[in-house]
Symmetry: D2
Subunit: 367 residues, 4 copies
Amino acid sequence: MAGSTFGKLFRVTTWGESHGTGIGAVVDGCPAGLPLNEEIVQQYLNRRKPGQTKYSTPRKEDDLVQIQSGVFEGKTTGTPISMVVFNQTQRSKDYSEIANYYRPGHADYTFDQKYGFRDYRGGGRSSGRETIGRVAGGAVAEEVLKSLGIEVYAYSQSIAGIAIDDTRAKRENIAKSPLFMPDLEASAQAEDRLAEKMAEQNSAGGIVECVVRGLPAGVGEPVFDKLDALLAQSVMSIGAVKGVEIGDGFGAADSFGSEFNDSFRMDGEKVVKATNHAGGILGGISDGSDVRLRAAIKPTPSIAREQQTVNRDGEDIAIGIRGRHDPIIVPRAVVVVESMVAMTVLDLLLQSMTSQLEGIRRHFDRN
Amino acid sequence: MAGSTFGKLFRVTTWGESHGTGIGAVVDGCPAGLPLNEEIVQQYLNRRKPGQTKYSTPRKEDDLVQIQSGVFEGKTTGTPISMVVFNQTQRSKDYSEIANYYRPGHADYTFDQKYGFRDYRGGGRSSGRETIGRVAGGAVAEEVLKSLGIEVYAYSQSIAGIAIDDTRAKRENIAKSPLFMPDLEASAQAEDRLAEKMAEQNSAGGIVECVVRGLPAGVGEPVFDKLDALLAQSVMSIGAVKGVEIGDGFGAADSFGSEFNDSFRMDGEKVVKATNHAGGILGGISDGSDVRLRAAIKPTPSIAREQQTVNRDGEDIAIGIRGRHDPIIVPRAVVVVESMVAMTVLDLLLQSMTSQLEGIRRHFDRN
Amino acid sequence: MAGSTFGKLFRVTTWGESHGTGIGAVVDGCPAGLPLNEEIVQQYLNRRKPGQTKYSTPRKEDDLVQIQSGVFEGKTTGTPISMVVFNQTQRSKDYSEIANYYRPGHADYTFDQKYGFRDYRGGGRSSGRETIGRVAGGAVAEEVLKSLGIEVYAYSQSIAGIAIDDTRAKRENIAKSPLFMPDLEASAQAEDRLAEKMAEQNSAGGIVECVVRGLPAGVGEPVFDKLDALLAQSVMSIGAVKGVEIGDGFGAADSFGSEFNDSFRMDGEKVVKATNHAGGILGGISDGSDVRLRAAIKPTPSIAREQQTVNRDGEDIAIGIRGRHDPIIVPRAVVVVESMVAMTVLDLLLQSMTSQLEGIRRHFDRN
Amino acid sequence: MAGSTFGKLFRVTTWGESHGTGIGAVVDGCPAGLPLNEEIVQQYLNRRKPGQTKYSTPRKEDDLVQIQSGVFEGKTTGTPISMVVFNQTQRSKDYSEIANYYRPGHADYTFDQKYGFRDYRGGGRSSGRETIGRVAGGAVAEEVLKSLGIEVYAYSQSIAGIAIDDTRAKRENIAKSPLFMPDLEASAQAEDRLAEKMAEQNSAGGIVECVVRGLPAGVGEPVFDKLDALLAQSVMSIGAVKGVEIGDGFGAADSFGSEFNDSFRMDGEKVVKATNHAGGILGGISDGSDVRLRAAIKPTPSIAREQQTVNRDGEDIAIGIRGRHDPIIVPRAVVVVESMVAMTVLDLLLQSMTSQLEGIRRHFDRN
């Protein structure tokens, strides 16, 4: 499992299980001189914290981050930044039952197949708590991007089949919606739909949309480390994501060249695009317009309803998963998607600094 | 652009421009002892060759591959396998006009922004010919997988808005359809639709579906190098792909836990799943059932119809792209998607050999 | 500084500064099923602990390791293993003076040049305490190797110009010598020499030798990731190391082909070498005999004697470095060299499992 | 053998066997805008060409390089640069005898052990011809460095036990000596010594020294990708190298702190060092003075004298290696060491551009 590191110049390594000592991230390659402290990172982590609304599990987890290295006198030093959120409750007894069977939609079976056994407590490494490391790493990336005038934001585009209406969507609504939907009308409808599903002991899925604004043209490293390719990897690597699309995405498959191509035009001295079906990426390289992507999030796999499965003794059994689980992952996944996008964009932005000899020469001339 | 290498243990590096000397791939990390020769690789390359049907450009390109290293007495030696397809025609004159403007939907603008200038002949490095390197590398990967009993195959799932009907689809039909659709009725309809679009000097998009059969459970390296994550990267890195989904993909976003979760059940001594909404991957690790993914392919950007754009002098202009271009990329992309999937699966399969200490011990005990 | 991760399949990421919260290591890619606990790792760390003899600083640091993830019910789970040693004393006042000048032989100047400023407390990231992370990671690697019958051991080959006599050297003496020299006579002489140097407020250097026994032939990935090449990187990356040699090393430069070439001969059914000038590596690949390397360690840069340097205001000054510092780094570096060698060998050993298609086939047939 | 790629931002992948189609290198990540053509690269390759003096094999090999991609209108485009030297003679008959036994000092045995069989013709991938790829890649790196005012040069420091005298050594002498020694008196003595050894059908070793001049302070990525660490890897990866040392290297082991530490002092407004025992690197980061390293080169393993070995049938045999072989590798290794150093330094120089947030901000502000 040497797959816990993401990035080349800005690299995030995460560790930790749901019921171990804690969840951590080591950010290596953060440029020196960035103002950083625990309060800043905590703002990001609070957005994924459970127990805030009725749509997330009422477990009380403060999830307070500690910065253990790489920051001195309020600024990053260029050395690895270790961050940790210690787990507060490690009650293993709640999970003793699931040790012996495979929950549908979870990674219990595949972990057992891959590693021979697993830390079954709360999903272990495949728990949703793993995303704490992603958000901590993403927080640092996003702070670097902000300091360069690049903004990343995400929201719920669709919940339980209720999609936002772009004409009603406003960015300032995101924080007002308990589901982080920028269209409050859609948000209210989605709340009703979720209430139904909760009553049926069921769960729902949805779509997260993410926008990167202010990214200069020229970011992305063809032919395998294209901007869209690495965004697809990083976002698909989030636990419940089953699909990623850039710009019109699957809509492009049903469209025609005359509709899908974005025309260029001059806006004063600047080259702009009349439309943005491409989602801000051409040939795997940012084109200066907004980068837009969507991630499909599956329904929460843990449901109280009876499900069929097998146990480790090879018997067919029926189970109902006890405990309080989020009926929907999407709202808490919003900041996770944003985090992965921020890491990816920053890493490729840094790489793009060496694309032209002229830019390198100017860098070292000045220094 | 140090992004031309894919993979960790099985690594493919590609090079070459549309109108340079040729297109090549260096496969590093191919296990020794695999029977390989030019005829074998050529079979794969022939599937992406242009000029075979009326839906692909009638340019005559033989695209014959040469193996330059890494094979001795008919078998791979474990050293890097260099393969090249020399370009036969390098007529630059056809492309002189496009040197000065940015074709909508192409990477002309972003390459200029990133690198300061570009090899404008036929799209240079961002030409569709770049995929020759992918297919050559994928051919080697697929041969290794076959020798281990693992099969990868792909086909057109939807063309110009006409999707296959799963009840009619048969794998043996793929080769019979000029569009590589396994449902011949849908294929015929799609041909009609394409004829319309060609008459309108327009182009169309579609969806490629790919299946991996026989992959053991346990492949994929959480949390960033999950099987689905790296499949998303590798497939999204193909020129015209705008979206990737695993299993039900975006359909999962609109479904509910009770529908989407795949139940486990015993089939004799074997654990199987009753359904496969997850597309063969749980927690980023293969579960032993078919891996299924879909890639959304945009319409061919080169169309003869008039389009608006700008030139390098900063003027708004109107253009019509001359020359013969494929009205649809999808059929030729089928083998490219298959190739990227094969590389990705093989690389992670090799990595999975070290997941358990017991497996490592047995390996070295025997040797 | 995205250079804090070493390895491809067995990857170690370290973090931490001398006077921050602690020093840590995240081991990713450790195979599942290895018995591991804090006591095991502590044994390795104790070998680099200061304050044990008069040749190391009398600072009392317990340096107790905590394992925070990746181990469940006494065995590694295959997920990242986070280990941390919390710093006990973080008295910054001792180091306030050095904030303003550049100590000769230290990284103060280069850190300032690279990052614009530095965590000056105790050397920050470039402190010798950084090696705690290496030893923690190396401990895990060495445990895996032991379980496969591969032994790694190191010792002081030369201290302050006194080299061991190979005819007197015995492995069991290593632990008996306060300087970890296998030749107790040389050890006693070196102690005398060190006493002299300490009296002169000076410091001394030396050579660490490391042996890998039981490594199968076939380990190393030409042409850049050869076994000797990655050993050179990993050992040279240790703070005070200025040179690395394999087998006869620099002695080879003065020898002739007829002397240096190791003859092969049959020992029963086994191919062996009559001599081992090559140090167990041919063409960058292990040949089945002992791997032998030596690392040159510079004298401790912190000395009480007056030295010339400059301060941050650009003035020439004279300094004497206060505090208690080891007069010799070599004995405490022994386990650090051993750790880096263990990590390197294990990583390449795992990679070598995929060298032959036949070995891969057998692996998956059995599973 | 996925070890044929070196570097992170400036990456070189090499391929090819002694008696296959040719030897090649793919340079990925070369910044766009560098003037490059075949004549430029050829200058570097000519320095390793055999048959130039009596100390290298009289085989006639023109070794003409072709650039196949990544250069357009005389400048690099930022896309991968594929270079190839086609092998002119592929006479396999000369080598049929060695197919069956293991030459002492060669990689025949280890390749067989690792891969199960080998391309035995002329050493296959482990032939000295493999270094053509290194020099082609290094040529591009060195051109980039030159354009930034950074110079890399190397020479023979010692041959067959005859070392240069630093007081007599002059850089302009290097090209005048058939052995590339900057001290012509030592060069003449070494020639005599070599003549003796040739008469005895023996071979000799030596030391190559390399200097990097003009490198700014701040290059190197602690703690594993330090400048000295990656130099050690890259230089040790060259076929015949058995040791690498930085600055005083192994001499440091016998020196004392008061001698070895380099004092800083002000030279006008500039911080300089009074001496350079450290070889231009402190804490793994360049300090602005000359980087200096030495590589120990073993004697040519192919000698005509009788040697003992075994064959593949497990029999002890005596052999004499026929054909004309260089009695000394050192002179031809000079440009190879220089090439590896250039690649390494450039890759880390590019990485160092992202060390400070301020430098990143200025880069994107200007663009």
